[in-house]
């Protein structure tokens, strides 16, 4: 649960509002990266993602003075990114799409254990690629809710705020999205759980 804004975020916001250029740069870098990744995920790997992120960050700072600092930043930022993506999609201005797995970081997974078996690492990397390739095939409605929960770690309440849907709808839509994702993976490559390294002992 992360609905309370962290003390460090509150401090950072206060510093930005006081005109501290270093705090502003630090916040810009942080929200820029988050906005970029979310735009990438939302557009299914469009090359317009950097422009979307940049525009969203400008919007973010433009309205920062009126933002309630007691609320977490991310749902608000993601709402801006989402609106921008929808706006461009409506006007058919999104540039060429790539599959999401092509944008994954090479050999730097966040849970990679340096002492682990290289073959297991390679298998895990391949599994990630398959999952994100499958993610590219989901509808935007399904993709956005999965990435908000499983990648960006938003709570159901924060997701409801971001997507402007009732909190009660989040769970059912998320489950439906996960089921679709799983079906795509299984249809493409076989059973997910039988290949997930973390679940090997369960086979």
């Amino acid at each position: 649960m992360r609905e309370e804004v962290s003390e460090s975020d509150r401090l950072l916001l206060a510093q930005v509002r006081d005109g501290d250029p270093q705090a502003r740069e630090a916040l810009a870098r942080r929200v820029g990266d988050s906005a970029y990744v979310f735009a990438l995920q939302l557009t299914g790997g469009s090359q317009s993602s950097r422009d979307i992120a940049q525009d969203s960050v400008l919007r973010f700072f433009e309205h920062l003075s009126s933002f309630d600092s007691e609320r977490p930043l991310e749902p608000w930022l993601y709402q801006i990114v989402r609106n921008r993506v929808r706006d461009l999609s409506r006007r058919d201005r999104l540039r060429r799409h790539e599959s999401l797995d092509l944008w994954l970081e090479q050999g730097r997974s966040v849970d990679a254990d340096p002492t682990a078996d290289p073959a297991a690492d390679a298998e895990r990397d391949e599994l990630r690629r398959r999952v994100w390739r499958a993610m590219s095939q989901l509808t935007v409605t399904h993709r956005e809710i999965i990435v908000l929960r499983d990648y960006h770690d938003l709570t159901y309440r924060e997701i409801a705020d971001t997507l402007a849907i009732p909190q009660g709808t989040v769970m059912s839509r998320l489950h439906s999205a996960r089921r679709c994702l799983r079906e795509i993976i299984v249809a493409d490559d076989g059973n997910l759980s039988s290949r997930a390294p973390a679940r090997r002992g369960d086979q």
Binding site: R24, R50, W76, S193
Partner: protein, 147 residues
């Protein structure tokens, strides 16, 4: 995994792995999982999927690849002052051209025509930008973003 086989909504499994259920629902799911191998397998599958998704990192642009830093107060102030000066110049030039063309001076007729055309061109450009902005403002997807 159908509603007829289970006493609870299948979506509760997602709520369960996300830790978003009420205590009562969590207890119901836990009891059900003790007796249902199919749902246990489904929960494991959902957890695996979530772990894979969470354990991913995307490439982000280098700092130098961002074209423009967020605009500060001074930048916005300079833009606004620039616009005010430009508007004052248009108004001043317009008044001058109108005044000149309404006089009987024959020698100014040609220059007045050029000035008037130039002014009209600027007015039309500004008008078109204004119409676009009004249209965007009407459908501005960010208008609900301010909180």
């Amino acid at each position: 995994m159908t509603g007829t086989q289970h006493e609870f909504d299948e979506a509760l499994l997602s709520g369960y792995i996300d830790g978003e259920l009420t205590q009562g629902d969590r207890q119901r799911v836990r009891l059900h999982l003790e007796n249902c191998a199919e749902c246990r397998q489904a929960v494991e599958g959902l957890r695996s999927l979530r772990e894979v998704t969470m354990g991913t990192e995307f490439r982000v642009p280098e700092d130098t690849q961002w074209d423009e830093a967020p605009r500060g107060f001074l930048s916005r102030l300079l833009t606004n002052v620039g616009w005010l000066l430009a508007i004052a110049w248009f108004v001043g030039l317009g008044a001058y051209v109108v005044w000149q063309t309404t006089t009987d001076s024959e020698s100014f007729r040609f220059e007045g025509l050029i000035g008037f055309a130039l002014l009209l061109a600027f007015v039309l450009i500004i008008l078109s930008a204004l119409v676009d902005r009004l249209k965007i403002r009407k459908n501005d997807p960010y208008r609900k973003v301010r909180k």
